[in-house]
Assembly symmetry: C2
Amino acid sequence: MTTAALQPTERSTVRRGKHRVVTDRAVLHRILDDALIAHLGVQAGDHPVVLPVAFGVDPHGPDADGTLYVHGSVASHWLRSAQEQTVCVTVTELDGLVLAQSAFNHSMNYRCAVVIGVARPVLDAAERERALALIVDHSVAGRSATLRPNTAKELAATAVFAVSLHEASVKVRAGGPGDEPNEQIPDTWAGVIPLRRVADAPVTADYATAPIPPEVAQCDLSAQNSAQTGR
Amino acid sequence: MTTAALQPTERSTVRRGKHRVVTDRAVLHRILDDALIAHLGVQAGDHPVVLPVAFGVDPHGPDADGTLYVHGSVASHWLRSAQEQTVCVTVTELDGLVLAQSAFNHSMNYRCAVVIGVARPVLDAAERERALALIVDHSVAGRSATLRPNTAKELAATAVFAVSLHEASVKVRAGGPGDEPNEQIPDTWAGVIPLRRVADAPVTADYATAPIPPEVAQCDLSAQNSAQTGR
Protein backbone atom coordinates (compact mmCIF):
# COMPACT_ATOMS: atom_id res chain seq x y z
CA MET A 1 0.00 0.00 0.00
CA THR A 2 2.80 2.39 0.77
CA THR A 3 4.07 2.02 -2.79
CA ALA A 4 0.87 3.45 -4.27
CA ALA A 5 0.83 7.02 -5.50
CA LEU A 6 -1.01 9.77 -3.69
CA GLN A 7 -3.97 10.67 -5.86
CA PRO A 8 -5.00 14.15 -4.85
CA THR A 9 -8.67 14.99 -4.51
CA GLU A 10 -10.02 18.51 -4.97
CA ARG A 11 -9.33 19.15 -1.29
CA SER A 12 -5.88 17.63 -1.21
CA THR A 13 -4.54 19.15 -4.41
CA VAL A 14 -1.53 21.34 -3.78
CA ARG A 15 -2.01 24.60 -5.64
CA ARG A 16 1.22 26.42 -4.75
CA GLY A 17 4.80 25.20 -5.10
CA LYS A 18 3.83 22.26 -7.29
CA HIS A 19 7.53 21.53 -7.90
CA ARG A 20 7.70 20.54 -4.24
CA VAL A 21 4.83 18.10 -4.37
CA VAL A 22 5.70 14.47 -3.74
CA THR A 23 3.14 11.88 -4.78
CA ASP A 24 4.92 8.77 -3.52
CA ARG A 25 2.79 7.40 -0.71
CA ALA A 26 5.93 5.86 0.82
CA VAL A 27 7.24 9.40 1.42
CA LEU A 28 4.01 10.26 3.24
CA HIS A 29 4.57 7.30 5.52
CA ARG A 30 8.21 8.18 6.13
CA ILE A 31 7.21 11.68 7.20
CA LEU A 32 4.52 10.30 9.49
CA ASP A 33 7.03 7.81 10.90
CA ASP A 34 9.57 10.57 11.60
CA ALA A 35 7.17 13.00 13.21
CA LEU A 36 6.30 12.81 16.90
CA ILE A 37 3.36 15.21 16.89
CA ALA A 38 0.75 16.42 14.45
CA HIS A 39 -1.21 19.65 14.44
CA LEU A 40 -4.94 18.91 14.31
CA GLY A 41 -7.25 21.59 13.00
CA VAL A 42 -10.88 21.39 14.11
CA GLN A 43 -13.60 23.87 13.24
CA ALA A 44 -14.93 25.71 16.31
CA GLY A 45 -17.75 28.03 15.41
CA ASP A 46 -16.45 30.55 12.89
CA HIS A 47 -12.79 29.67 13.15
CA PRO A 48 -10.40 26.72 13.35
CA VAL A 49 -8.68 25.68 16.55
CA VAL A 50 -5.33 23.99 15.93
CA LEU A 51 -3.68 22.00 18.70
CA PRO A 52 -0.72 19.61 18.82
CA VAL A 53 -1.56 15.94 19.26
CA ALA A 54 0.18 12.62 19.49
CA PHE A 55 -0.87 10.20 16.77
CA GLY A 56 -0.52 6.69 15.50
CA VAL A 57 -0.66 5.20 12.01
CA ASP A 58 -2.03 1.92 10.69
CA PRO A 59 -0.81 1.84 7.07
CA HIS A 60 -3.04 -1.13 6.32
CA GLY A 61 -6.35 0.13 7.33
CA PRO A 62 -9.17 -0.04 8.16
CA ASP A 63 -9.82 3.19 6.28
CA ALA A 64 -9.03 3.80 2.64
CA ASP A 65 -5.24 3.99 2.12
CA GLY A 66 -4.64 3.50 5.81
CA THR A 67 -5.69 5.17 9.04
CA LEU A 68 -4.26 7.89 11.25
CA TYR A 69 -5.40 7.78 14.87
CA VAL A 70 -5.58 10.56 17.43
CA HIS A 71 -6.86 10.38 20.98
CA GLY A 72 -7.69 12.56 23.91
CA SER A 73 -9.94 13.03 26.88
CA VAL A 74 -13.64 12.34 26.44
CA ALA A 75 -14.03 15.59 28.37
CA SER A 76 -12.22 17.59 25.69
CA HIS A 77 -14.83 19.80 24.04
CA TRP A 78 -12.35 20.61 21.28
CA LEU A 79 -11.71 16.95 20.44
CA ARG A 80 -15.37 15.96 20.76
CA SER A 81 -16.31 18.73 18.35
CA ALA A 82 -14.23 16.96 15.70
CA GLN A 83 -16.59 13.98 15.68
CA GLU A 84 -17.87 13.26 12.17
CA GLN A 85 -16.48 16.63 11.07
CA THR A 86 -13.85 17.13 8.40
CA VAL A 87 -10.56 17.88 10.08
CA CYS A 88 -7.04 18.65 8.91
CA VAL A 89 -4.06 16.78 10.32
CA THR A 90 -0.75 18.39 9.45
CA VAL A 91 2.66 16.92 10.19
CA THR A 92 5.75 19.04 9.60
CA GLU A 93 9.39 18.16 10.02
CA LEU A 94 11.67 21.20 9.81
CA ASP A 95 15.03 20.33 8.26
CA GLY A 96 16.74 23.66 7.84
CA LEU A 97 16.67 27.41 7.44
CA VAL A 98 17.30 28.59 3.90
CA LEU A 99 18.99 31.96 3.91
CA ALA A 100 19.05 33.64 0.52
CA GLN A 101 20.62 36.89 -0.63
CA SER A 102 17.16 38.42 -0.87
CA ALA A 103 14.57 38.41 1.89
CA PHE A 104 12.11 37.25 -0.78
CA ASN A 105 13.99 34.02 -1.43
CA HIS A 106 14.43 33.10 2.22
CA SER A 107 12.77 29.76 2.84
CA MET A 108 12.91 26.65 4.94
CA ASN A 109 13.70 23.04 4.21
CA TYR A 110 10.87 20.90 5.45
CA ARG A 111 8.80 17.79 4.88
CA CYS A 112 5.09 18.38 5.35
CA ALA A 113 2.15 16.01 5.11
CA VAL A 114 -1.44 17.26 5.15
CA VAL A 115 -4.31 14.84 5.67
CA ILE A 116 -7.92 15.97 5.28
CA GLY A 117 -10.73 13.69 6.31
CA VAL A 118 -13.70 13.02 8.50
CA ALA A 119 -12.88 12.25 12.13
CA ARG A 120 -14.46 8.85 12.65
CA PRO A 121 -15.07 8.02 16.30
CA VAL A 122 -13.43 4.68 17.07
CA LEU A 123 -15.94 2.71 19.13
CA ASP A 124 -15.01 -0.91 18.46
CA ALA A 125 -13.16 -2.21 21.52
CA ALA A 126 -10.48 -4.05 19.56
CA GLU A 127 -9.82 -1.12 17.23
CA ARG A 128 -9.62 1.23 20.21
CA GLU A 129 -7.04 -0.94 21.95
CA ARG A 130 -5.06 -1.26 18.72
CA ALA A 131 -5.20 2.48 18.08
CA LEU A 132 -3.99 3.32 21.58
CA ALA A 133 -1.11 0.85 21.22
CA LEU A 134 -0.18 2.36 17.84
CA ILE A 135 -0.09 5.83 19.40
CA VAL A 136 2.26 4.69 22.19
CA ASP A 137 4.41 2.70 19.78
CA HIS A 138 4.60 5.62 17.34
CA SER A 139 7.03 7.31 19.75
CA VAL A 140 8.81 4.22 21.07
CA ALA A 141 8.36 1.10 18.97
CA GLY A 142 7.49 -1.88 21.14
CA ARG A 143 6.65 0.18 24.21
CA SER A 144 2.98 -0.78 24.39
CA ALA A 145 3.79 -4.48 24.76
CA THR A 146 5.72 -3.70 27.96
CA LEU A 147 2.82 -1.93 29.68
CA ARG A 148 -0.01 -3.24 31.81
CA PRO A 149 -3.38 -3.45 30.03
CA ASN A 150 -5.56 -0.34 29.92
CA THR A 151 -8.19 -0.33 32.64
CA ALA A 152 -11.90 0.01 31.88
CA LYS A 153 -11.77 3.40 33.60
CA GLU A 154 -8.89 4.56 31.39
CA LEU A 155 -10.62 3.37 28.23
CA ALA A 156 -13.87 5.05 29.26
CA ALA A 157 -12.00 8.33 29.75
CA THR A 158 -10.35 8.21 26.32
CA ALA A 159 -11.79 9.34 23.01
CA VAL A 160 -10.19 7.92 19.87
CA PHE A 161 -10.72 9.23 16.35
CA ALA A 162 -9.63 7.81 13.01
CA VAL A 163 -8.86 9.77 9.86
CA SER A 164 -8.35 8.06 6.52
CA LEU A 165 -5.00 8.65 4.83
CA HIS A 166 -6.77 8.76 1.46
CA GLU A 167 -6.87 12.53 1.10
CA ALA A 168 -3.26 13.39 1.77
CA SER A 169 -0.72 15.67 0.18
CA VAL A 170 3.01 15.94 0.71
CA LYS A 171 5.37 18.81 0.07
CA VAL A 172 9.12 18.63 0.52
CA ARG A 173 11.63 21.44 0.23
CA ALA A 174 15.31 20.56 0.40
CA GLY A 175 18.58 21.96 -0.83
CA GLY A 176 20.07 25.41 -1.02
CA PRO A 177 18.63 28.89 -1.50
CA GLY A 178 17.09 29.89 -4.80
CA ASP A 179 18.35 33.36 -5.62
CA GLU A 180 17.87 34.03 -9.31
CA PRO A 181 21.18 33.75 -11.21
CA ASN A 182 20.81 37.30 -12.52
CA GLU A 183 20.25 38.61 -8.99
CA GLN A 184 23.11 36.89 -7.19
CA ILE A 185 25.42 39.08 -5.12
CA PRO A 186 28.81 37.47 -4.44
CA ASP A 187 29.45 39.50 -1.30
CA THR A 188 26.26 38.51 0.48
CA TRP A 189 26.41 35.16 2.24
CA ALA A 190 23.69 32.64 1.41
CA GLY A 191 23.20 29.07 2.43
CA VAL A 192 21.38 26.63 4.64
CA ILE A 193 21.47 26.10 8.39
CA PRO A 194 20.57 22.40 8.79
CA LEU A 195 18.31 21.60 11.72
CA ARG A 196 17.59 18.29 13.36
CA ARG A 197 15.99 16.87 16.45
CA VAL A 198 18.09 15.00 18.97
CA ALA A 199 17.14 12.93 21.99
CA ASP A 200 19.17 13.16 25.17
CA ALA A 201 19.70 10.32 27.63
CA PRO A 202 16.44 9.09 29.17
CA VAL A 203 15.69 10.46 32.65
CA THR A 204 14.24 7.74 34.88
CA ALA A 205 11.26 8.64 37.04
CA ASP A 206 11.98 8.61 40.78
CA TYR A 207 9.38 5.88 41.36
CA ALA A 208 10.71 3.53 38.66
CA THR A 209 13.42 1.09 39.74
CA ALA A 210 13.60 -0.91 36.50
CA PRO A 211 16.59 -0.36 34.21
CA ILE A 212 16.09 1.50 30.94
CA PRO A 213 14.65 -1.12 28.57
CA PRO A 214 16.19 -1.77 25.14
CA GLU A 215 13.24 -0.33 23.20
CA VAL A 216 13.75 2.97 25.03
CA ALA A 217 17.56 2.91 24.97
CA GLN A 218 17.62 2.09 21.27
CA CYS A 219 14.71 4.14 19.92
CA ASP A 220 15.79 6.61 17.27
CA LEU A 221 13.88 9.86 17.61
CA SER A 222 16.03 11.82 15.20
CA ALA A 223 14.35 13.00 12.05
CA GLN A 224 15.72 11.97 8.68
CA ASN A 225 17.06 15.41 7.86
CA SER A 226 16.93 15.82 4.09
CA ALA A 227 18.14 19.40 3.98
CA GLN A 228 21.36 18.41 2.27
CA THR A 229 19.71 16.56 -0.59
CA GLY A 230 18.81 18.09 -3.92
CA ARG A 231 15.67 20.17 -4.31
CA MET B 1 3.98 44.79 27.59
CA THR B 2 5.50 41.33 27.92
CA THR B 3 5.06 41.53 31.68
CA ALA B 4 1.28 41.77 31.42
CA ALA B 5 -0.83 38.71 32.12
CA LEU B 6 -2.65 36.84 29.40
CA GLN B 7 -6.33 37.54 29.91
CA PRO B 8 -8.21 34.74 28.22
CA THR B 9 -11.31 35.52 26.20
CA GLU B 10 -14.09 33.02 25.64
CA ARG B 11 -12.21 31.75 22.60
CA SER B 12 -8.80 31.62 24.22
CA THR B 13 -9.80 30.04 27.50
CA VAL B 14 -8.10 26.69 28.02
CA ARG B 15 -10.74 24.17 29.10
CA ARG B 16 -8.59 21.07 29.56
CA GLY B 17 -5.40 20.63 31.57
CA LYS B 18 -5.85 23.91 33.40
CA HIS B 19 -2.90 23.05 35.67
CA ARG B 20 -0.71 23.48 32.60
CA VAL B 21 -1.96 26.92 31.71
CA VAL B 22 0.56 29.72 31.91
CA THR B 23 -0.79 33.26 31.98
CA ASP B 24 2.52 35.15 32.00
CA ARG B 25 2.68 36.97 28.68
CA ALA B 26 6.48 36.83 28.88
CA VAL B 27 6.24 33.04 28.54
CA LEU B 28 4.13 33.47 25.41
CA HIS B 29 6.87 35.63 23.94
CA ARG B 30 9.63 33.20 24.93
CA ILE B 31 7.78 30.39 23.14
CA LEU B 32 7.28 32.54 20.06
CA ASP B 33 10.96 33.52 20.18
CA ASP B 34 12.06 29.88 20.39
CA ALA B 35 9.85 28.58 17.63
CA LEU B 36 10.88 28.73 13.98
CA ILE B 37 7.53 27.86 12.42
CA ALA B 38 3.88 28.16 13.31
CA HIS B 39 0.92 26.12 12.12
CA LEU B 40 -1.73 28.41 10.67
CA GLY B 41 -5.29 27.14 10.54
CA VAL B 42 -7.57 28.76 7.98
CA GLN B 43 -11.16 27.80 7.30
CA ALA B 44 -11.64 26.44 3.76
CA GLY B 45 -15.26 25.65 3.07
CA ASP B 46 -16.44 23.08 5.60
CA HIS B 47 -13.05 22.25 7.07
CA PRO B 48 -9.84 23.87 8.26
CA VAL B 49 -6.62 23.72 6.29
CA VAL B 50 -3.53 23.85 8.50
CA LEU B 51 -0.15 24.63 6.98
CA PRO B 52 3.26 25.48 8.43
CA VAL B 53 4.38 29.09 8.07
CA ALA B 54 7.29 31.27 9.00
CA PHE B 55 6.31 34.18 11.21
CA GLY B 56 7.55 37.32 12.88
CA VAL B 57 6.53 39.09 16.08
CA ASP B 58 6.33 42.74 16.99
CA PRO B 59 5.68 42.68 20.75
CA HIS B 60 4.95 46.41 20.76
CA GLY B 61 3.11 46.94 17.73
CA PRO B 62 0.33 47.96 16.23
CA ASP B 63 -2.35 45.48 17.33
CA ALA B 64 -3.59 44.95 20.87
CA ASP B 65 -0.91 43.20 22.99
CA GLY B 66 1.42 43.01 20.00
CA THR B 67 1.31 41.61 16.49
CA LEU B 68 2.22 38.31 14.88
CA TYR B 69 2.97 38.52 11.15
CA VAL B 70 2.76 35.83 8.50
CA HIS B 71 3.40 36.16 4.80
CA GLY B 72 3.09 34.25 1.59
CA SER B 73 2.44 34.49 -2.10
CA VAL B 74 -0.38 36.74 -3.27
CA ALA B 75 -1.22 33.78 -5.51
CA SER B 76 -1.85 31.52 -2.52
CA HIS B 77 -5.58 30.85 -2.47
CA TRP B 78 -5.21 29.36 1.00
CA LEU B 79 -3.52 32.44 2.44
CA ARG B 80 -5.82 34.87 0.62
CA SER B 81 -8.81 33.05 2.07
CA ALA B 82 -7.57 34.02 5.54
CA GLN B 83 -8.17 37.71 4.83
CA GLU B 84 -10.41 39.29 7.48
CA GLN B 85 -11.26 35.79 8.70
CA THR B 86 -10.59 34.48 12.20
CA VAL B 87 -7.58 32.21 12.07
CA CYS B 88 -5.66 30.12 14.58
CA VAL B 89 -1.88 30.36 14.85
CA THR B 90 -0.37 27.57 16.91
CA VAL B 91 3.27 27.34 17.91
CA THR B 92 4.53 24.18 19.57
CA GLU B 93 7.95 23.34 20.90
CA LEU B 94 8.34 19.65 21.76
CA ASP B 95 10.67 19.15 24.73
CA GLY B 96 10.38 15.47 25.49
CA LEU B 97 8.53 12.19 25.42
CA VAL B 98 6.96 11.24 28.75
CA LEU B 99 6.83 7.47 29.12
CA ALA B 100 4.64 6.31 31.99
CA GLN B 101 3.96 2.85 33.35
CA SER B 102 0.47 2.99 31.86
CA ALA B 103 -0.34 3.84 28.27
CA PHE B 104 -2.94 6.22 29.67
CA ASN B 105 -0.35 8.37 31.44
CA HIS B 106 2.00 8.62 28.49
CA SER B 107 2.41 12.25 27.55
CA MET B 108 4.81 14.77 26.07
CA ASN B 109 6.67 17.72 27.46
CA TYR B 110 5.91 20.74 25.33
CA ARG B 111 5.38 24.48 25.24
CA CYS B 112 2.42 25.51 23.13
CA ALA B 113 1.02 28.93 22.30
CA VAL B 114 -2.32 29.35 20.54
CA VAL B 115 -3.31 32.70 19.07
CA ILE B 116 -6.80 33.30 17.70
CA GLY B 117 -7.56 36.44 15.79
CA VAL B 118 -8.64 38.10 12.59
CA ALA B 119 -6.05 38.03 9.81
CA ARG B 120 -5.59 41.71 9.01
CA PRO B 121 -4.08 42.33 5.58
CA VAL B 122 -1.03 44.53 5.99
CA LEU B 123 -1.24 47.16 3.26
CA ASP B 124 0.76 50.06 4.66
CA ALA B 125 4.13 50.09 2.88
CA ALA B 126 6.16 50.80 6.01
CA GLU B 127 4.39 48.15 8.07
CA ARG B 128 4.82 45.62 5.24
CA GLU B 129 8.57 46.25 5.07
CA ARG B 130 8.84 46.03 8.85
CA ALA B 131 6.84 42.82 8.96
CA LEU B 132 8.96 41.18 6.28
CA ALA B 133 12.14 42.18 8.14
CA LEU B 134 10.72 40.79 11.40
CA ILE B 135 9.98 37.48 9.67
CA VAL B 136 13.55 37.17 8.35
CA ASP B 137 15.03 38.28 11.66
CA HIS B 138 12.85 35.86 13.61
CA SER B 139 15.08 33.04 12.34
CA VAL B 140 18.40 34.88 12.29
CA ALA B 141 18.47 38.10 14.29
CA GLY B 142 20.03 40.91 12.30
CA ARG B 143 19.85 39.10 8.97
CA SER B 144 17.45 41.51 7.29
CA ALA B 145 19.85 44.44 7.71
CA THR B 146 22.46 42.58 5.63
CA LEU B 147 20.17 42.07 2.62
CA ARG B 148 19.43 44.25 -0.39
CA PRO B 149 16.10 46.08 -0.26
CA ASN B 150 13.00 44.24 -1.44
CA THR B 151 12.14 45.08 -5.03
CA ALA B 152 8.73 46.45 -6.03
CA LYS B 153 8.13 43.19 -7.87
CA GLU B 154 8.92 41.13 -4.75
CA LEU B 155 6.68 43.29 -2.58
CA ALA B 156 3.85 43.08 -5.11
CA ALA B 157 4.11 39.28 -5.06
CA THR B 158 3.94 39.04 -1.26
CA ALA B 159 0.85 39.02 0.93
CA VAL B 160 1.35 39.93 4.59
CA PHE B 161 -1.18 39.36 7.34
CA ALA B 162 -1.19 40.53 10.94
CA VAL B 163 -2.82 38.77 13.88
CA SER B 164 -3.17 40.44 17.26
CA LEU B 165 -1.53 38.64 20.18
CA HIS B 166 -4.46 39.67 22.38
CA GLU B 167 -6.33 36.37 22.26
CA ALA B 168 -3.57 33.96 23.18
CA SER B 169 -3.27 30.99 25.47
CA VAL B 170 -0.22 29.08 26.61
CA LYS B 171 0.13 25.56 27.92
CA VAL B 172 3.34 24.05 29.20
CA ARG B 173 3.97 20.47 30.25
CA ALA B 174 7.32 19.65 31.84
CA GLY B 175 8.74 17.11 34.24
CA GLY B 176 8.32 13.42 34.71
CA PRO B 177 5.48 10.96 34.11
CA GLY B 178 2.37 11.09 36.25
CA ASP B 179 1.49 7.54 37.17
CA GLU B 180 -0.81 7.53 40.18
CA PRO B 181 1.08 6.52 43.35
CA ASN B 182 -1.34 3.64 43.98
CA GLU B 183 -0.77 2.36 40.43
CA GLN B 184 3.02 2.49 40.29
CA ILE B 185 4.80 -0.72 39.24
CA PRO B 186 8.47 -0.83 40.28
CA ASP B 187 9.47 -3.25 37.55
CA THR B 188 8.17 -1.15 34.67
CA TRP B 189 10.52 1.59 33.53
CA ALA B 190 9.11 5.11 33.33
CA GLY B 191 10.74 8.40 32.60
CA VAL B 192 11.34 11.15 30.08
CA ILE B 193 13.29 11.18 26.84
CA PRO B 194 14.36 14.82 26.49
CA LEU B 195 14.22 16.23 22.96
CA ARG B 196 15.82 19.32 21.53
CA ARG B 197 16.54 20.96 18.23
CA VAL B 198 20.12 21.44 17.13
CA ALA B 199 21.60 23.39 14.24
CA ASP B 200 24.48 21.95 12.27
CA ALA B 201 27.23 23.99 10.62
CA PRO B 202 25.87 26.34 7.94
CA VAL B 203 26.24 25.06 4.36
CA THR B 204 27.25 27.89 2.03
CA ALA B 205 25.47 28.16 -1.33
CA ASP B 206 27.69 27.45 -4.32
CA TYR B 207 27.09 30.95 -5.69
CA ALA B 208 27.97 32.78 -2.46
CA THR B 209 31.61 33.67 -1.96
CA ALA B 210 31.22 35.75 1.21
CA PRO B 211 32.30 34.21 4.52
CA ILE B 212 29.66 33.11 7.01
CA PRO B 213 28.62 36.34 8.76
CA PRO B 214 28.60 36.62 12.56
CA GLU B 215 24.80 36.81 12.84
CA VAL B 216 24.58 33.45 11.08
CA ALA B 217 27.56 31.85 12.83
CA GLN B 218 26.33 32.97 16.23
CA CYS B 219 22.58 32.54 15.94
CA ASP B 220 21.19 30.14 18.51
CA LEU B 221 18.42 28.03 17.02
CA SER B 222 18.20 25.61 19.91
CA ALA B 223 14.97 25.61 21.86
CA GLN B 224 15.00 26.31 25.58
CA ASN B 225 14.21 22.74 26.54
CA SER B 226 12.24 22.82 29.78
CA ALA B 227 11.60 19.10 30.03
CA GLN B 228 13.78 18.81 33.10
CA THR B 229 12.00 21.49 35.10
CA GLY B 230 9.19 20.76 37.50
CA ARG B 231 5.65 20.34 36.30
